[in-house]
Subunit: 199 residues, 2 copies
């Protein structure tokens, strides 16, 4: 199994973190997240969005979108709840992550820390940072009095949201005001089988 | 069951379209998509993102994010494939829709046709319209030689992508160049049980 990967991408880290928890082996092929000129050649035919992560299963079939890859491997494990409502709640948080959280927090982090030209995005920084704080505040309110995002055990929702939240500081996001969120980050990092983003 | 709804929102239409196919009854409460000042009061505690659609089940439990609501009702029906890989492919297209397609096509449509102040977004229009055409072109390439996005029957993926694609013209997107996409739109609209966005 082959993962088209980026070591710094939180979307790729989600997949690596789940596969580590599940003890599933795979090869990694690193793609550049700044120079994307080779993507049509390498990912065309595998992923309509030409993004990483893109996974190629052992039989050659491709799968794209971090959320879909998490679901493929998570189904039937403790990371996808058996209860129908809780399963939908896991997807609710995963869609929230891709629509509200990632386009603000991951994108600002990329602009500031990885793009090599943060000045090119300076005029959009304030708006996106405000959107990021709205997402972080929504998580913090939800996590007050809860150990995990859904139910009382770690799920794909925690893996999906942990990825970019735990590196939000690289984009200049100060998490000091979010006590429940910080406790949750520490709780996820302390789970047996957890691996860091860089390894 | 109560759906916090907007008649013009494609995200809400996805839910209404699936529930129509499944013959599930519900009440609708219309929310304004321009004046959002009442959302914290009405949707706070129900949806961390304060968006529509937000669903309240008969027992009072809330569910948010169109994709999660579709999954909740779609599981166990013909709209979610029985095959594990096809199920993940359905989610792949649903995440593609929320990350690449909706933020371009739905947002441009809103700016141009519903915001009441298109001039406020003029400086971002070209970039978003280009992103929308990349998403439409990716769908068109995938649909060439296929009847449906995943497998050989309609799924949640078709419902999720139909919603904003079939009204893309309201945002100024010309679909003439996308023959496979146009044939697919007609195929989805011809399905038994299909309902239009406005009714």
């Amino acid at each position: 199994m082959l993962l088209y990967d980026s070591p710094v991408s939180g979307n790729c880290y989600k997949v690596r973190l789940l596969l580590a928890h599940l003890g599933i082996a795979y090869e990694r092929r690193t793609m550049d997240v700044v120079d994307r000129s080779d993507r049509p050649q390498k990912l065309g035919g595998l992923n309509p969005a030409l993004r990483v992560p893109t996974l190629v299963l052992d039989d050659g079939r491709p799968l794209a979108e971090s959320g879909a890859i998490l679901w493929y491997f998570g189904e039937g494990t403790d990371f996808v709840p058996r209860d129908r409502y809780e399963r939908a709640q896991v997807l609710q948080w995963m869609f929230f992550e891709q629509y509200d959280h990632e386009p603000a927090i991951a994108v600002v982090r990329f602009w500031v820390a990885y793009s090599g030209r943060p000045e090119a995005f300076a005029d959009r920084l304030e708006e996106r940072r405000a959107a990021g704080h709205r997402a972080l505040a929504a998580m913090d309110r939800h996590l007050a009095g809860r150990d995990f995002l859904v139910g009382d055990a770690p799920s794909l929702a925690d893996i999906a949201l942990y990825a970019y939240t735990h590196v939000a500081h690289e984009g200049g996001f100060d998490l000091d005001a979010y006590a429940a969120l910080q406790a949750w980050l520490a709780r996820i990092a302390a789970q047996p089988g957890h691996v860091p983003i860089e390894r």
